[in-house]
């Protein structure tokens, strides 16, 4: 989202607060904070016009580290608080920082309603597939079978697929990034900000203490090439240094080898983030490769232009004022039926 007044060039440092950053050493949150500060500086919005709202969890400490307006609220409700904030003040640049527990478990309801209403805000969902702040219970995105303190015999809750959930809630901007790819992270944040409507950014974030290495397939040299698929609008879906690609066989996506001469990039699916059906298919690239799955897509799955709640609300106000005139308190108090006692 964006629409605020441009100001003289600011630096990432201008968005750092005086508070000591207290996340664990090695936590993916550090890298994300740095890129958010850089992205907000690059966007060119004045700090006083920016508001960061978070819920509860490790990631939700985020607002304390931003030299903007901010609120570290209560568990699961950042999305609801931000909705009221944006409805009241559509001029502000509103960022929601939340986690997989905060937004997909206790605050799941508010997240889907935020997405369908399409407030012009940015949702940064830090997904580490674990509960960190409460010291290591499984989360709604933890994979089946994961052994944690609260699942000593393995998780039996089927996990949420956050991007598919966002698409299901009719989100107008759905993307996935990862903490260890700062350039792509910053680029996507800027795109999310430019999008007019709710921008859903799922950020894979490593928790080095309770769930270390859970995303190593997508970060480690020798693994990430096979396991990650970067989606770019208008470009064919190729990966692994262009040795592999994705094509559709009917409605079924499959991996094709681009080295044998049988297939070329021209045979591959071309990414089109305006195509809802395609976004649906890509969001379902969710099984691990070793389980017969497909590479994990990163980038923007889907983007559409749809009216924003806060603008529609303001339109109604403008229309009411145009047709009835600005509210006259005396006329309102008097109502339509009066009588006089002498």
């Amino acid at each position: 989202m964006s629409e605020t007044i441009k100001v003289p060039k600011l630096k990432a440092k201008d968005f750092e607060s005086d508070q000591e950053v207290r996340w664990c050493p090695g936590c993916g949150d550090h890298a994300i904070l740095k890129q958010v500060q850089a992205a907000v500086a690059e966007i060119g919005v004045a700090p006083e016009n920016v508001v960061f709202i978070s819920g509860i969890g490790c990631s939700s400490r985020f607002p304390y580290y931003m030299n903007t307006y901010g609120m570290h609220s209560i568990h699961g409700r950042a999305t609801a608080i931000a909705s009221g904030l944006k409805a009241a003040r559509k001029d502000l640049s509103v960022w929601i920082v939340t986690g997989d527990g905060d937004s997909l478990s206790i605050g799941g309801n508010h997240l889907i309603h935020l997405l369908r209403r399409n407030f012009n805000v940015n949702v940064l969902l830090f997904n580490n597939e674990i509960y960190g702040l409460t010291k290591g219970q499984y989360s709604p995105t933890s994979p089946l079978g994961l052994n944690t303190k609260s699942s000593p015999m393995g998780v039996i809750d089927h996990p949420f697929n956050p991007t598919a959930l966002a698409l299901g809630a009719d989100a107008t901007f759905v993307s996935r990034v990862i903490d260890r790819d700062p350039r792509h992270l910053k680029k996507t944040l800027i795109e999310a900000n430019e999008h007019q409507g709710t921008s859903f950014v799922e950020i894979y974030q490593n928790c080095p203490v309770f769930n270390d290495g859970v995303f190593s397939n997508y970060t480690e040299r020798g693994l990430k090439e096979e396991h990650t698929l970067y989606m770019e609008a208008g470009k064919p879906l190729v990966y692994a240094k262009e040795t592999k690609g994705i094509r559709l066989n009917g409605l079924k996506p499959e991996i094709v080898d681009l080295t044998t001469g049988e297939f070329s990039a021209d045979d591959c699916l071309v990414h089109d983030p305006t195509d809802r059906t395609l976004a649906g298919i890509l969001s379902r690239f969710f099984d691990k490769l070793e389980d017969g799955g497909l590479p994990r897509p990163f980038g923007v799955f889907y983007q559409e232009d749809r009216f924003r709640y806060e603008e529609a609300l303001q339109l109604q106000i403008d229309e009411a004022m145009a047709s009835k005139g600005e509210g006259d308190l005396d006329a309102l108090l008097a109502g339509n039926n009066n009588w006089v006692i002498q």
């Binding site: 609220s73 009221g84 904030l85 944006k86 002498q342």
Partner: protein, 614 residues
């Protein structure tokens, strides 16, 4: 035909019928007409929680009681002079409310064998019971009369029968010599898209009126002269409507935008409906996905500089409490309206109760004091919610505003104020960095911090639910700081007692034998009872609390001026516990937990039962 007219000071009419019989509409029309005529009125709608409860059963009976008179009224009356019963179940459910010798107007079509069976009347028609000799029974087949009236029209039979309530309304207008004109205008507006329905309803209304005129049974008419109210311009108003208007007025006078986050719930939804109509006042209503989002969005709007308001009833307030605690911690203005209903749990959604006082005062985790203000009547809800808003804005705090189902749906005449005469409202907003620098939790002499709103350069700051350092608002786990902050937040609320009026005596001696201490919607019943008791020579006074936290400063001294203090409440004794704990004064409880308001008689009887024998 010669008719006779009897003059009365006050009359109670109780309309009762099946949920589908249109009794609420009929009652409201009668009320508006009689209020426009100049009577004082007080109403009590009483309807089932089900939208279409089983037809013809006692559970499905919908009632609307209206008292109107030629003097000031404070309750909808203890007993009915006229009972309209559209079916057997309606009579069964309401017969004990009809005064001995009163008029019973019954629709015989609703007393056929099917209806008798549905009402469990064991096939004995109660209209023919011997005890009916003591009443003035006027039983007619209003359904048939309505059908006959519309026999020559295109209106299908089933549709035609539905306007039988208009027949009865016309008949009552004849009985009380009231003009049909306000209802005629209402019909023309309501059915403006269907000229046939305008014509048929007007026809039936007038037929009912003429039926009274030509039928000897109704030759006896009742005249209730206009009331001698304080001179001025009046309108009729319901409690939820008054609450909505109070909020709009407060927003306008404070120069803030009103944001109202709410999730539909009985009996609070009408506030949302009313506010949603007034977008041209810049009102932003937000129908949230749940109660928590409703309060959370309002907190977001308050943080952004709007007047954030949320409303619900007991179960919804319970869901909001964690977020209200956040507002306590953030120290931002927020008005939380609780239109109380019977509890616990889903309880009695359409019935009234005052059982959320403890929830308002103590319902949050941790030490989380917030001011509590209660309305005492439908029209007074305007002033009370305006005052609740004043406190929220002036003291940067969430405020709980207590109403209830009786206030919400009740109606009475209101001598509405001029906008210019409403008290000014100030906020704690600051628009630039103070000369000594900005500290988010720096306080004024009343311990109130400033309201720094996003968009203001140099005032960027972070708030949160974690305990905060005394001045900077940064997170602090320091033990001494926590204790200090808990005490400061409590003291800030307690200090509000310096900025509210002292408790006054509403009626009765300034000291003496008995004080009745009430709060909320029991006001009318207590006031009526005390007026009568004083006339009968009892030394009884009435004080009514608007401020339940903090209490007015002089309340303890005031209680000491009476030998005995009775505390009537529509709960199992909540205020009494708080008063006794705080002032060490043993009081007399008077509890009613039936989902219906006190009658004046119940209050009188209690006073007489404890009054010393002379």
């Amino acid at each position: 035909m010669q008719d006779t007219t009897e003059a009365l000071d006050e009359v109670v009419v109780l309309f009762a019928g099946d949920s589908g019989d249109g009794m609420q509409l009929t009652g409201n029309q009668f009320t508006n007409t009689t209020a426009l005529f100049g009577n004082d009125v007080s109403t009590f709608p009483n309807f089932p929680a089900e939208i279409r409860a089983p037809q013809g059963t006692v559970g499905g009976v919908s009632g609307f009681q209206v008292k109107f008179g030629s003097h000031r009224l404070f309750t909808p009356g203890d007993e009915a002079d006229v009972l309209v019963a559209m079916n057997a179940a309606a009579l069964k459910a309401n017969f004990d409310k009809l005064k001995k010798g009163g008029v019973l107007i019954a629709n015989t079509d609703g007393f056929d064998s099917k209806n008798l069976k549905l009402a469990n009347c064991a096939d004995v028609n109660p209209l023919q019971a011997e005890r009916m000799n003591e009443y003035n029974v006027q039983a007619f087949n209003f359904t048939q009369l309505t059908l006959d009236t519309l026999a020559d029209t295109v209106i299908p039979r089933k549709e035609a029968a539905r306007s039988k309530n208009m027949f009865v309304l016309g008949l009552l207008y004849w009985m009380f010599n009231r003009s049909m004109e306000p209802t005629e205008r209402f019909i023309e507006t309501k059915f403006r898209k269907s000229p046939e329905l305008i014509e048929s309803n007007l026809k039936v209304l007038r037929a009912g009126y003429h039926f009274g005129e030509t039928n000897e049974a109704f030759a006896h008419r009742i005249d209730v002269k206009p009331a001698e109210l304080e001179p001025g311009v009046y309108r009729n108003i319901m409690g939820n409507q008054a609450t909505a208007l109070g909020l709009i007025a407060a927003a306008k006078k404070s120069g803030l935008e009103l944001f109202y986050g709410s999730y539909p719930i009985t009996p609070a939804s009408d506030i949302l409906h009313e506010l949603a109509k007034h977008r041209n006042f810049g009102v932003k209503t937000f129908q949230a996905e749940d109660e928590i989002a409703a309060v959370a969005s309002s907190i977001g709007a308050s943080f952004a500089g709007s007047l954030g308001v949320t409303a619900s009833s007991g179960p919804g307030i319970a869901l909001k409490q964690e977020a209200i605690g956040l507002a306590v911690m953030l120290e931002i203005p927020l008005v939380v309206v609780n239109v109380q209903r019977g509890g616990p749990s889903t309880g009695l959604p359409t019935k009234t109760e005052q059982a959320d006082l403890m929830q308002a005062l103590y319902g949050r985790n941790g030490e989380a004091q917030m001011p509590v203000v209660a309305a005492n009547s439908p029209q007074e809800a305007f002033d009370a919610v305006y005052e609740a808003t004043r406190i929220a804005l002036e003291f940067m705090t969430p405020v709980m505003f207590l109403s209830d189902g009786y206030i919400a749906n009740g109606a009475e005449p209101w001598k509405f104020p001029k906008a210019a005469d409403l008290p000014e409202l100030k906020t704690q907003k600051i628009s630039e960095v103070p000369s000594e620098g900005f500290l988010p939790y720096k306080r004024n002499a009343d311990l109130v911090r400033s309201w720094a709103v996003p968009g203001t350069k140099g005032l960027e700051h972070r708030l949160g639910g974690l305990e905060k350092d005394e001045l900077t608002g940064n997170v602090s786990y320091d033990p001494d700081n926590h204790e200090k902050m808990v005490k400061i937040r409590a003291e800030k609320v307690a200090n509000i007692a310096n900025h509210i009026p002292e408790q006054t005596i509403d009626q009765g001696p300034e000291s003496g034998e008995v004080l009745i201490l009430g709060w909320g919607s029991t006001y009318g019943a207590i006031k009526t009872a005390v007026a009568q008791l004083n006339q009968e020579g009892f030394e009884v006074a009435h004080a009514h609390l608007r401020y339940l936290n903090p209490f007015p400063k002089n309340l303890g001294d005031l209680l000491e001026k009476y030998n005995q203090v009775i505390i009537p409440e529509m709960n199992d004794g909540q205020l009494i516990n708080i008063i006794q704990a705080k002032y060490s004064k043993v009081c007399v409880p008077l509890d009613k937990i039936k989902g219906i308001p006190f009658t004046a008689n119940e209050i009188k009887e209690k006073v007489k039962s404890i009054y010393p024998e002379s």
